[in-house]
Symmetry: C2
């Protein structure tokens, strides 16, 4: 347990600060979200935030780490992953955070790497393994490179970032269309 | 010709202002780039900018329109387009502008649409037609949806935005790998 100044931290404060930081990153962007506004939203003194995180970047990195998806929400097949990804990418909050992080990446390259590792990857958990399994069990033609299947999912992100709001059904349809063109047999995905 | 206050515009000023606006959008982002800094970089009075564009958004829209690629730089096959796109996406300036526009899209949704139409599409000129032609001449298997080929190129954008700097050869390899998995016959792309 880290303490500063001898006073124990209140874990409830940390949660409130991290939630407020993520909300304000989404609403106002990296440059627009101030420590002052975050402290106010969290109902704590500014010094409480400064004592715990030494910069805005550190605070946002912690907020991304904190916003983990609930356990047990993992896709167990490529078909389930299509549903998960289409739902995620159609959510305004998800898309806004992604756009804010991409925008901040020019000045804060660490942030986008941390976003991918701490926020995005846990939401696409098992993608690499699911892709490999799907090829092995014949859901895709022999010789299919699992990395290409991964790229299909990563690719949907670019589509959404440049289009803005996109309906879940459209993303779902595009993902399935692309996978079908890679030779995916949809009837096998439950096997 | 639009004039304000009876004085004719100096087209040289316009070019200098639009170039400065694009540079500062890339360097400082939408929020960070001020009209004052743009005027200073262009070597004109602030009022010269305000007389001509009524908001920062209008100025940036004009700057995106102004930054058209040179005529005659068009790809004439899917193979040439792979080369063009890999080169573009590996350029820092291109990637930074795209990240800035995506970041600003939360507060300025018009900007990302204008970026796609005025800046990106002219640089991928003929993509839809090239995709259709490639299917027709048998470069891709019968029944291939040309929209899927277009999505492969759009998809590379998401990959680059989330990865930061990516080497031209890596983007080239990923695009070719994806197209090969769609059944592309590379030997036909010069036919």
């Amino acid at each position: 347990m880290d303490r500063v100044g001898g006073r124990p931290r209140d874990p409830g404060n940390d949660v409130a600060i991290l939630d407020a930081a993520l909300d304000l990153l989404i609403e106002d962007g990296f440059g627009g979200a101030s420590i002052e506004a975050i402290a106010k939203r969290a109902g704590v003194a500014k010094m409480t935030v400064y004592r715990r995180w030494k910069s805005k970047e550190d605070l946002f990195l912690a907020a991304l780490e904190h916003a983990r998806p609930p356990d047990g929400a993992n896709a167990e097949s490529i078909g389930e992953l299509v549903v998960t990804v289409a739902r995620l990418l159609s959510q305004n909050r998800f898309r806004m955070l992604m756009a804010r992080v991409v925008g901040a990446s020019v000045d804060h390259p660490n942030l986008v790497g941390a976003y991918v590792e701490r926020y995005l990857r846990p939401r696409l958990s098992g993608l690499a393994e699911l892709a490999r399994d799907a090829v092995e069990k014949g859901e895709f033609p022999e010789g299919t490179d699992p990395a290409v299947i991964e790229d299909v999912f990563a690719g949907a992100i670019g589509f959404v970032l440049l289009r803005g709001e996109v309906a879940e059904a459209e993303i779902d349809g595009r993902l399935r269309g692309m996978l079908r063109h890679l030779g995916r047999r949809e009837d096998l995905h439950l096997g």
